[in-house]
Amino acid sequence: MSAMDELKNQPLVEVRNLKKYFPIKKGLISRVVGHVRAVDDVSFAIRKGETFGLVGESGCGKSTLGRTILRLHHPTGGDVIFDGRSMNAMKSRDLRALRQEMQIIFQDPFGSLNPRFLIKDIIGEPLRVHTKASSKEIEERVAHLMSLVGLDPARRNQYPHEFSGGQRQRIGIARAIALNPKFIVADEAVSALDVSVQSQVINLLIKLQKELGLTFLFIAHGLNVVRHISDRIGVMYLGKMAEIGPSEELFRHPLHPYTAALLSSIPLPNPEIKRERIVLQGDVPSPANPPSGCRFHPRCPFAQERCKSEVPALTEVMPNRQVACHFPLVDKAMGIGGK
């Protein structure tokens, strides 16, 4: 087990100061008048074999971060080190080869499958693009993949519309694991599914991770789902990482005031528990014109003068726990805080 643990602590993906700005264009000649800072100087690492959960509200940049890591967006700045290799230093041919090792599962099981393709062609496409397998080999592999994700291989000659939402998501998963990737970004992979179907897909993802030794970046806004599946969680707010920590501890003792507010606003499926809720005022500001200093300060119940001017850096305040806040809720987490 210790060898396994050691393996687990090696980073597979290291994100270094990653930035992605989208230009805002105006007028006839498309003058650039500003930038939406979707991902602004984010650094973290995902260890081999772990599931890293990424949470945050809509517009916080979590999907952009996932896609920029995969180079589906070209980063404005920063670098991603994948398995010890810098992606900035790679030529486009190497990058294409690298794509076999990282895949993505999309949110919308309806929009992400080509309606004119047969299921076997959808799942087999990455094999045709990246390998020199014969059509017979591809056929066999597709059948194997389908049974692996719990679909009947006899249905491989059907079209996507003949499948339900949960089954389509399984098709998307089969396509993602077709090339035996090391790393999979699951971008809101279960968010569009109903509760009873969602739990089936979550179980499937956990099973595949154990069997195939996958590393996941699990992006979602459903916090209870993220807690269930993730080893560590990163909380994003307005393009910045606010907090990173092990799931259990982060949920029990959030360090960043935003994490605390986010966790307290989830309605619990238990009418007996009455929690003290931190209701945040106002809305998430626009990432085109983020507030100065700490980006959370206009909505933060603990904001002070310093928060308005100084951007807090993501620092390790307790073992394994990083937070970007001048006044993190450390006392509570250590159990010293008074009531």
Partner: protein
């Protein structure tokens, strides 16, 4: 005895198709008292929205109609009204808010115009009075600087703000009943918390009855007095929120509650799943509609549809043969219908 605001009995509604009449809501009975919140919980395709559209008599505009049953608002049967008469009931006595606030608002009219519309139609206010009232309403739903906001268009407001405007429009004429169809599903959790708080506050102030439609059991636990669980067009269980969560009696409710990943419990463990998926309305199973997915299904479940049987708890019913008092395995629970 509390004042009964809405009583739906044996409502069957749906859509005519080539394959015959599709009963999207089949034999649905609901009741809501004054100041009470009833949550209609179910997954997609369970008939929650069709039920609410039928109550509003908006189903006709979607190509469907009410086949059978009564919808009584106080003493009036809404199924007997003409659409002309409904115009004076919708917005005035019953109001509705929808899932997507952006598409519920008209993009070419200002916020102020849209709130004033129902005030002028139902209460005959002058434009001046209506504007004043609109500002007051916006203030009540927690929109800062309402004097400026009424001149703005929906695209200038965020999703949460738009939902507040929709709530202001819905409450403009002080309705008795508010139907909220997934009002927070399109919103982020922190904004959802604000909107739910607002609905609760307004309910206390106005003695409003709310029919809240949601798929989120967390929202239901927080908001509901009573819960009705729908599956494939029928209500499978109904009861007070405490009973439903502490002692769910229908296997579907039990499965639904167990499949939510919780905040307690072991991480990464296998979640409970209900096998299979929701049947399409064109291929409803015979007998109890849940039987192909039910772990307790018996031959009887495949043949006969169960009635609503009383189960432990106040006014708590489940539509499952397991709770049939006539069944040999189950004792009479002693709770009878009113």
């Amino acid at each position: 005895m509390a004042e009964r605001v809405l009583e739906v009995s044996k409502l069957t509604a749906g859509f005519p198709t080539d394959h015959g009449f599709l009963k999207a809501a089949d034999n649905v009975s609901l009741k809501i008292d004054r100041g009470e919140t009833l949550c209609l919980v179910g997954e997609s395709g369970s008939g929650k929205s069709v039920t609410s559209l039928a109550i509003m008599r908006l189903l006709e505009y979607e190509g469907g109609f009410i086949l059978d049953g009564q919808i009584k608002l106080h003493d009036e049967d809404l199924t007997l009204k003409t659409q002309e008469e409904m115009i004076h009931i919708r917005g005035k006595k019953i109001a509705m808010i929808f899932q997507d606030p952006m598409s519920a608002l008209n993009p070419v009219f200002t916020i102020g115009d849209q709130i004033a519309e129902s005030l002028r139609l139902h209460q005959g206010m002058s434009p001046k009075e209506a504007e004043k009232e609109a500002i007051e309403l916006l203030r009540r739903v927690g929109i800062p600087a309402p004097e400026i906001r009424i001149r703005q268009y929906p695209h200038e407001l965020s999703g949460g703000m738009c939902q507040r405007v929709v709530i202001a429009i819905a409450l403009a004429c002080k309705p008795d009943l508010l139907i909220a169809d997934e009002p927070t599903t399109a919103l982020d959790v922190t904004v959802q918390a604000q909107i739910l708080d607002l609905l609760r506050k307004l309910q206390d102030e106005m003695g409003l009855s709310i029919l809240l439609i949601t798929h989120d059991l967390g929202v239901a636990a927080e908001m509901a007095d009573r819960i009705a669980v729908m599956y494939a067009g029928t209500i499978v269980e109904e009861g007070y929120v405490k009973d439903i969560f502490a002692n769910p009696c229908h296997p579907y409710t039990q499965g639904l509650l167990q499949s939510i990943p919780g905040f307690e419990g072991e991480r990464g463990s296998e979640l409970y799943t209900i096998k299979g998926s929701i049947p399409p309305l064109t291929q409803l199973p015979s007998g109890c509609r849940f039987h192909p997915r039910c772990p307790h299904a018996t031959p009887k479940c495949m043949q006969e549809q169960p009635g609503h049987y009383a189960v432990p708890g106040k006014d708590h019913y489940a539509a499952c043969w397991l709770h049939d008092p006539a069944g040999a395995a189950n004792e009479e629970t002693g709770v009878s219908r009113e």
